[in-house]
Symmetry: C2
Subunit: 394 residues, 2 copies
């Protein structure tokens, strides 16, 4: 078995996104011990950088030592005790996953369901809260399976009437691409993953917990069912005590630190503007080619764009050719959207005008060969026009 | 905040161990998607390499996407259903941790306790099995907190009378340093970590599950309480289905593949011999200096050596000077052994004659400055004599 040399890819799927060369270089630095003073410094710096990117002052802001899905599990296993009422907003895979985890924690689950590809019905959310008076309302800010945005401001608005209910927000695909503004919107527990808009390899799940959330965890009557994700212990490892719990993934933390440093260098607002502009250019190009977006404009994510697969075209065949002929990875649909949409990620380092233009060009050429009638160059031209205007169109 | 440049360290603590430059280089390879055909190939190769290193033909042999402690949790959450009787052998931190996890899973726990630093009393284990007829017997092959070895052959011997009881073995610190021989000893669930004798950065937990273990999991009446660690789903992601579950840590898997490839290149027997020889040289040096090992010879690990801190010497002061003056990291004691022992890891790439000799030299110089009377050069000389003999003494 030889050395593994990965093929050259441009990662424009639902994640991982491309990592900046600086992040890859950080990964390869020699190891130090996980209780080495030098690494304790790295841990402190990561917490500080994460607070900046989450826009929070929450003390408990750390990376959980596993992927984003473990961040989701950490949220529920710590906040829920058996019998607690929990409302989960479901309009895609990740709301489904939340529901599954809630029942595994013994929570009394109520789902607010919305058709996949549509934004949440906030009136329905309000009514459900009224009826069930849950301890937790959970929602996904950026539903990666559909491309739909749930603005945390709207959740907070609804929660005004329910001051006892904690807000739990999935920021896996939003963090570093869309504003999350944890403190402004009073989010009590947010979690993310490193491989989306942070443009760091997968392997860590940044979380942030409000003081109210921490208090809720401290007042539990039962032990957290997961030892690995028990924040009452994990927080002591990341806090002043440095109490040994598990061995942090050293190299992944090096990489996370560097990816967060890149974000702070760019500036949060610049980064959001970049993600919005590339999204707008992509949509302009896609629509100029005569393709349709799945999600209506006001509910669209910038970072994950869902394009309907034209009738008679094979989703998988197109994606396969994008990968083999152009080295471009995009994603397919999941669940009810399987074979029906493409998922185009423009996340972190992958959110770049070059990528938008390369994808539009490649897609046009493949679709024409598949027999779809397209005006030559229409997609690239329309996207270029957006970039040429130099500022996002209204 | 500047780029992080780690200080130069020689990692001779309880883990992480030093990673080979080839492993660090593998980490920094560009990302591909986690469902990319190229990555699916990597996943297959890792499973194949892990089977070689675990010495097993178990189909379900994969890295769990979190650190070694999550491997421990994966073992219990998958095998235990509420009310199941479980016997845990406790003679250190990791047996304690197992006990904690068993109760979080709703298992009926019986502990077989042995003083820290001593080998298990197998007659006591037998009596406890006789009394409780558990579904699972769990033990730690290499107790990193004490330096004690539990040979799996002895556990299997005891289990002959209890064919219904599954054997669960912690191989976190043994895998790649001591023979684990999963199939030979009929281990039903073993887990490890990457940062010990595999000499890969921390972040993954290789596991292997016997067909009997898989059958037990399949026949559960209740859902696995952890979504993230639910092997009924995780195995489909790593198996032929490739069903999306979570995003595997791509870079860490690159590194694991390379670290396993290094082990296969060296050869398992050569690797065990190397670990044993370096251990014997270290012990010879330590004892020549007039220091004492905590563990009696027949129970000693090769990969984690526990040395009693001489009376009147400050454990922490010596470790701190080793780190600051020599860049050498060793570990201190935990729990009842706090301040009483040093833990010297000779794991993977860190198990090297140069390291043994450097540590002995550094320790001698520091201890003499601390007022301990030592014959100059005695430790290095005794260790060198072992190496000069070119083969492990009996």
């Amino acid at each position: 078995m030889n050395e593994f040399n990965p093929p050259k890819r441009i990662l424009m799927g639902p994640g991982p996104s491309d990592a900046d060369p600086r992040v890859l270089r950080a990964l390869s630095a020699p190891l130090v011990g996980h209780l080495d003073p030098a690494f304790l410094g790295v841990m402190d710096e990561i917490q500080q950088l994460l607070r900046t990117v989450f826009e929070t002052r929450n003390r408990l802001t750390i990376p959980v030592s596993a992927t984003g899905s473990a961040g989701m599990e950490a949220a529920f296993v710590n906040l829920i005790e058996p019998g607690d009422a929990v409302v989960v907003c479901v309009n895609g895979v990740f709301g489904e996953r939340m529901s599954d985890i809630v029942t595994r924690c013994g929570g009394r689950l109520t789902r607010v369901e919305t058709q996949w590809g549509h934004g949440l019905d906030m009136e329905e959310v309000r009514k459900t809260l009224q009826r069930t008076r849950p301890r937790i309302l959970a929602a996904v800010q950026a539903e990666t399976s559909t491309g739909v945005l749930t603005p945390p401001a709207r959740l907070r608005e609804v929660l005004k009437e329910f001051p006892e209910t904690l807000l739990l927000l999935d920021c896996v695909t939003s963090l570093g691409g869309h504003p999350v503004e944890i403190d402004r919107h009073g989010v009590d527990f947010a979690y993310s993953g490193t491989q989306k808009c942070l443009s760091c390899p997968p392997g860590l799940a940044p979380i942030t917990v409000s003081d109210r959330g921490v208090e809720r965890i401290r007042q539990r009557k039962t032990k957290v069912q997961s030892w690995y994700l028990d924040l009452t212990m994990v927080e002591k490892y990341w806090g002043a005590d440095r109490t040994y719990h598990h061995t942090a993934p050293i190299s992944m933390n090096y990489a996370l630190r560097e990816s967060l440093r890149l974000i702070v260098e760019e500036g949060l607002q610049n980064r959001y503007d970049r993600h919005r502009l590339n999204h707008q250019a992509l949509v302009a190009g896609v629509e100029a080619m005569g393709l349709e977006m799945l999600v209506r404009p006001e509910d669209r994510l910038w970072v994950l764009n869902t394009v309907r697969v034209p009738d008679g075209v094979s989703d998988a065949a197109v994606r396969s050719r994008l990968l083999s002929d152009f080295g471009i990875e995009i994603g397919g649909g999941l669940g009810p959207l399987k074979d029906r949409i493409w998922r185009v990620g423009l996340m972190g380092a992958s959110s770049h005008p070059n990528n938008v233009l390369m994808l539009l060009n490649a897609l046009e050429r493949i679709l024409r060969q598949e027999g779809v009638r397209l005006a030559p160059g229409s997609g690239v031209e329309a996207a270029s026009a957006v970039f040429d205007r130099q500022e996002p169109p209204v």
